[in-house]
Symmetry: D2
Subunit: 424 residues, 4 copies
């Protein structure tokens, strides 16, 4: 389904008056509102191909109707999101859930939908039907070189798909770990992982990045071989300049200060990408900003500060992606909510008076430092984010438009009630 | 120091124009802004007498200058806060840190400062110089009836002070617990606690409430005899209709859903009071709303919903109090920040469209339920809170006024650099 | 497969000399070793029908060969376990994963294998193919009375299966919860749950128990409607004398003191049953005793103390069951390891010098209390547990026998490589 | 007080028969029991000078009688411990709590007591009376170079004390951090810390080590500038070959896999030292092995494995130290319990069949890997530890001897009831 641009115009017309009043109100308090809007317009968040269907837990999955039944339909879904918010202009493919057999046709389809190809993702945490060796006891860290070889080859295959499509990064989430004390020799597991990654790294094109994700636990429950940022950074440093750490918000121990991790990785020049979601207990994979919006804002505070210092473009300096699971909500609406929350946090962080903050920090003025951050966070920036959409030809309120125009019903009509998307 | 009301007027005059613009903007979107402002004006948060000095950790305490050196000066501090924000019109005394020897004079002083007496607090977690038996191994739960008797008598003494002053509640925070497996018989500890509380309950005046606080850990590190809301509620139910559970935000295990606890306690008619603070790791006792402002908002959402259903007055239905530790910031400014954050959360929660929320919940419309809450939370309600202050004769921006008028310097002039307040 | 008793005898003969030396050594230090052995012989741990196949996570499941392909084969598996350790003489059925269509034949089969029927378990956390309404948004707590009715009817059906088989308890694990703030009205969810349980309770035979499980999170990630022991106990008290709380070790927030919860539930006469497993991070469902063996021992310490005080038989006073997931190990061996760890903890706890412990507690002798517990825990009780097996006709070392006799290979020969058991 | 060696002999004579039986029993199952005993004899755990008095929490401190009132008496206490267990032959001094003014006399005293000097510890988390600048907002990370200079100078002074005494390491526990978002610029704090440490490092003698401790939270409650092993390792790598990470068991987020951290630090050649204690919730500083003895064993498993691989001597390869707080128990007895628990864990880990474990790991035999570790852990190794003491001239049961001979009463007679030791 391709969204009729007239629907957006109709929608915007209806909301414009109220929007204008709010935008005008807030604009007066902002020094360079045009620059801020321009930044918001440029900021794009990649959509993972596996997040377009209903996700689940080990206890079950309650699929919804009208899910995309093919990779083409997944592209269309991302195209639809991007038409609605003009902030989701990239798709991140997961192999082998979504193999772009005919890459030329896929590129053409993407171009027609105005979307680009984000990082490609390998999968060595599940066994595929045709697969020779099992990943039950891990992949890149496996004690058996034959299994490692299989996993390395898979990653190289993924790179090749990515090259054909125009991706510029490979994301490796290594689920490898152990569930019982004694199962693993931690050091050997680490060193096997390193040597496997070195093999993969050799096949990485010069202008690519390798994103090394870490995770504290799950699917293994005693140790994860890349369990925290320290381990990921150690690997990235040993691998070389194209290797970076990727931060997924849900992959930490309780109470971890993620914003500090982000800050230090930027200091080391080794932050590569970001997976947005939210959580209360574990890797809950909830909508970004739905549980801890202030944390999201604080992370953007660090991102902006560190990227500016390093001279990195906000929009392109890091790989921005959502990695959530839509167990209860319509995946498309859930993604719209996530993108909105991310852009709100970004906008709030752009409002921070950094000169004053710096001065307050230098004076150990804890009260003022807090006031400056809270002042930005407490500001209602929604009109700014909406304005950036308006100017890009997107909808003032994408969620509302989706609901009012019954877009899911239209997809059901096209696709049927019972299609189930590949993914978790 | 009594604040000159002209300082407030001067301050307000300076900020009024900007404020009016913002207040006017937001007012247009609110159905009955007058009713909302009235609720905000009525809402008062008690200030604990021990929070007026600099707090510390077991590693040390970095006292600040100009701390109140006597109970009278503590009253003055609360009076000053109340003059600034007209939302801190009550003091909660802690015995024996702050014994109001001459209760008549203290009542008169409080009246002159326009403040009332909140719950009185007992202390059986420290040994006092003149004390016969030690609380090293607990107090109300102690294996030795003699120690329990001493702790019971202390609580009765605290009730008597409260009666003389006009308090209407006793807060018991029982630090009793154990630090090693085997140290305690949990059941006997619980039953000793119950029988001790029954003794205290007998001395509680008819129109008083007994607030039973719970805490997951610290100062004991293996078990706490009143460790969670379940244990507190069990005690409150066994004690009788005047006994209630008191919730302190920092007293939970990691990731606890405090808003659900609040909701269920209100359902059972057994929520009695609230201690506001914020935390990231443990009982960090940080400024309210400084770490998890969305959680604070969600708690107020439940409070309002449950209190309205029970026909309870927001302002008086529960005991509202700050219980924080001011290790780094000026205690008075820190308290101003806490009160502001609490009132912001309250105002946001008042904005929730409860009819629409109810309908969304009935329809399992998870998207809309989230949108409704986020819509309220993302609204910049600071002009509403400021307006409520303006109408009550308080400052539009109390923190700013405090800093601009160098109120702490004036207190230092009065009190000297080296006074140290009693408390933790 | 029925285990040839001669294999056990051969195995025991081989190990007997070494065993006798160890048993003799430890026996000298125990006052009434015969009574202790008798208790160990009587202690039986129920095996859930769903734990006989390989479990998984949301990321995948790596099934093993020779899994039971039918309910009959699941019975045989439990029979095999029981033949090996004479401590697993009961099966706990899960409906609808394991529907005992022909109950008479199933009872006969169980009798022939020497196993009895433990609690029956309902499932309202997954949708079944023929099911009219979905449990996506919950079951007993659902806003729609029609869905609640369906879930109630299912539970009544499960009771009926249990009656036919000779079960005496229904375990309700209610997965109901919410994943986003606002999704649920907590109070209504609680009250809907209560009224649903009241309907079920009406159908409970006089000599049955209702076990109400609680869980902190998963499969919902913001709130669980029966989230902690306090909520479960509240429900059990409102339901009546046949309703009890069931404790699953993995269902708590980080760092929870489970032994204290157990102790208080026994004090209130409301502890009904137990699900054994172990975990480091969340509901990891690992082998009992594999991560925190001291915690398991401390729990048994409380269980024995509380049950003795209440005059409850250890073997029959509570419902004992394993509830683990066998993602990496052979499920049968994993279950043997769990049973062994549970019996070790039980034996250690039986060794505690309770008179001395009581005296030390009364004297606040923290050092001695700790020494007494550690003395029991540090004792190598494996010869006691082995002796209890020997006397019951089981294997001295069940895991070793299983491996040496290649029992899984025999099951594969019988069942084939690719059978996959029902369950998670 | 110097312990009369005859008391030990009398005590050992009384227990010897029972001990011999147990030692003989276990010896038969061990290949080279003599080598194992020799390792246990050599293993020494340093005692911190601040742990000889009663510790406390921010809520209070319940001091015990007969505490050491001078540094000399602290030396005597360590001498007493060492006489009792011959495993505590080193003292770790903390400056400025315990300044060895007359270093020559102190060395002589230590020599006479048979104890050596472990790492010296600096303190920049408290303000001392004479101190010019405050550490309220940190020390080595401070925004003000003047404060950093003061903290650097203090560390150099501590090195000088250590040189005079014969210490070979400086332990820096940097409490620096922030309690509120915005308070700190994380990167600048890190870089200030680095440059401060570089200054200190310059003054480190060639044969010294610098131990960099990390801690997740407390005394700051939002961020710690050296908050986890990753940050500590980053600093150690930037500093040079003499800089190492020090692991304190209580300084982690909930559920952290400390044994994996230990393993990786050894892999990197950057593990320097160890602070033993135990905890359930936070930095509880409880007796080693009192809460999670299996974790302690698993850590020793990694230590032995990694040290053997690196060719490090167990006894001297790392700095071993207790860092606990004795809030409830007699500090000396508590330390005896800690040393005992540490040596038990070490002895158990020495029993691990490493050849079999390696083979099982290579075969992904999770069952057997677990059995091998549990087999070692479930063995009652107390007779081995006792035998190692017996051969070194120490007591078979130091805690029992301490209690039976009423050693604390003797210390009270010497020192009086009211001396309070310096420390936390």
């Amino acid at each position: 389904m391709i969204l009729d641009q007239q629907l957006i115009e109709k929608h915007n017309n209806k909301l414009e008056k109220k929007h204008n009043r709010a935008f005008e109100f807030i604009s007066q308090d902002i020094d360079d509102v045009e620059e801020l809007i321009a930044k918001l317009q440029k900021f794009q968040i990649g959509i993972p191909s596996w997040a377009l269907g209903t996700g689940g837990t080990r206890f079950g999955r309650f699929s919804g109707p009208g899910e995309p039944g093919s990779l083409e339909q997944k592209f269309e879904d991302v195209g639809l999101l991007h038409a609605l918010n003009k902030s989701s202009g990239a798709i991140s493919l997961h192999i082998p859930w979504d193999i772009p057999e005919d890459t030329a046709r896929m590129k053409e389809l993407a171009r027609s939908l105005n979307i680009t190809f984000d990082a490609v993702n390998s999968n060595t945490f599940q066994d595929q039907p045709q697969q020779e060796d099992s990943y039950k006891y891990g992949s890149l860290h496996h004690v058996d070189p034959k299994v490692r070889k299989q996993a390395i080859d898979h990653n190289i295959e993924v790179i090749n798909y990515g090259k054909a499509l125009g991706s510029k990064a490979l994301t490796v989430w290594l689920a490898d770990g152990s569930s019982f004390p004694g199962q693993l020799n931690f050091r050997e597991a680490f060193q096997n992982t390193l040597s496997s990654l070195q093999e993969i790294y050799k096949h990485l094109p010069e202008d690519w990045k390798l994103f090394i994700e870490y995770k504290a636990f799950e699917p293994y429950f005693y140790s994860m071989t890349i369990g925290d940022w320290g381990q990921s950074l150690l690997l990235a440093n040993k691998l070389g300049p194209k290797a970076y750490t990727l931060v997924d918000l849900g992959h930490h121990l309780p109470n971890a200060n993620i914003e500090q991790i982000v800050s230090l990785l930027l200091m080391e020049g080794k932050l590569g990408g970001f997976h947005f979601n939210d959580s209360k207990y574990a890797d809950d994979d909830l909508t970004a900003g739905s549980i801890k919006p202030y944390q999201l804002f604080l992370i953007f505070n660090e991102l902006i500060d560190g990227m500016d210092l390093n001279g990195m473009e906000h929009a392109t300096g890091l790989g921005w992606m959502i990695d959530a699971s839509h167990n209860l909500k319509d995946p498309l609406v859930d993604l719209l909510q996530s993108v909105e929350a991310i852009k709100i946090a970004y906008a709030q962080a752009l409002l921070i008076d950094r000169v004053a903050l710096k001065a307050a920090q230098q004076a150990n003025d804890v009260v003022k430092s807090q006031e400056i951050l809270q002042d930005a966070f407490r500001t209602d920036v929604r009109p700014l984010v909406a304005e950036s959409r308006l100017r890009s030809g997107a909808a003032l309120n994408p969620v509302l438009l989706f609901e009012e125009e019954k877009l899911r019903d239209k997809l059901i009509t096209e696709r049927g009630l019972r299609t189930i998307a590949t993914g978790l």
